[in-house]
Amino acid sequence: MYIYLRILGMSTSQLYRGSLSIIILKLLKENGEMYGYEITQRVKEMTQGDLTIKEGALYPALHKLEAAGHLTVTAKKVDNRVRKYYDITPKGKQETVNRLAELDEFLANMQRIINPKLSF
């Protein structure tokens, strides 16, 4: 995907920004509840530091998903402070499925455009 983006002349961060909510939903679906900082670190680990989520974009995305009913929040007292954990709702799970299907379709179409298979 990285290469395709380069070809398209888009910066990776631009495209990922649009996909941030999918990344969040998918992570929560697989890992269960997480807090903001944990999400940034997990993404960094998974992409070997290639992709870092901007803090200024992460929280807006989390709050938007929460307002839409895709996430729920719980709070726990950890050390000497309060930590907010996000978890995915059934509605959010459905949304993940839909959005991943969309993304798959998008990638498949990009493949077709960039790598047309010649058939005779």
């Binding site: 200024g56 807006p60 402070r81």
Partner: protein
């Protein structure tokens, strides 16, 4: 090395200095910054608290916390509109729909009467104004009581209270009567359908005002706890 109590207080002050007014957002950002600073210390113990904080703050970009605050406001406004819808939908189910229909019918006949008799219209207008004044007094009292209640501000609470004291809402019904009064009364006389639709919309608007001013603020604690699980953890 862990971020200590007084440093947490410093972080709260730091978020306030950078225009994060509301305690809910402050808390989330403070935890984030504290985690990130601890992570830096794990790599390099000698880095100072202030230096580590500056490094982390830079990661939020040139606008600092502004975007986070703005987007939070948007998300919560959306949540609030949804809440109004949820309440309004109740008026289309039993038993509340009976109230809605009865009020519509009553208003319908009142308007019919009013067309015959201007006095009724004047009384209606006077009643609306009276309701407005009473409402204003209630809100001034309520807000005063609220202000003495500590200094932690919760964004959703502010949205509920500020819309809840949206006195302009009561102007909507008053305006409605005005419009009916000054414009096409002839048309209204001829068309019962017009009066019926007008009555229904008018009552619906009244219901929305009622929801915003009374129903939601009354359940504010419940909605706040739902929005802010940390609401109960502090204080």
């Amino acid at each position: 090395m862990k971020v200590n109590e007084s440093q947490i207080a410093e972080l709260y002050a730091f978020t306030r200095k950078h225009y994060v007014e509301h305690y809910d957002l402050q808390t989330e950002l403070v935890d984030h910054l504290a985690m990130a600073i601890e992570k830096q210390w794990a790599k390099n113990e000698h880095i100072s608290f202030d230096k580590a904080l500056q490094i982390e703050f830079k990661k939020f970009g040139v606008f600092g916390f502004m975007e986070v605050v703005e987007e939070r406001q948007k998300a919560l406004s959306k949540k609030y509109s949804k809440l109004i819808w949820k309440h309004l939908k109740e008026y289309f189910k039993l038993p509340k729909i009976i109230l809605l229909l009865i009020l519509t019918v009553v208003l319908y006949y009142l308007i019919e009467l009013a067309i015959v008799d201007r006095l009724v219209l004047t009384i209606l207008l006077a009643l609306s104004l009276l309701a407005y004044v009473v409402d204003a007094v209630i809100h001034v009292k309520r807000n005063k009581a609220k202000k003495n209640n500590g200094e932690k501000k919760w964004m959703f609470e502010e949205i509920i209270r500020s819309y809840g004291s949206g006195l302009w809402l009561f102007f909507v019904p008053v305006q409605g009567i005005n419009i009916l009064n000054s414009t096409d009364v002839e048309f209204a006389v001829k068309s019962p359908v017009f009066i019926a639709v007008f009555s229904f919309v008018f009552i619906l608007l009244l219901m929305v005002s009622y929801i915003i001013q009374f129903e939601i603020p009354k359940k504010a604690e419940h909605y706040l706890e739902e929005t802010y699980p940390e609401y109960k953890l502090v204080d």
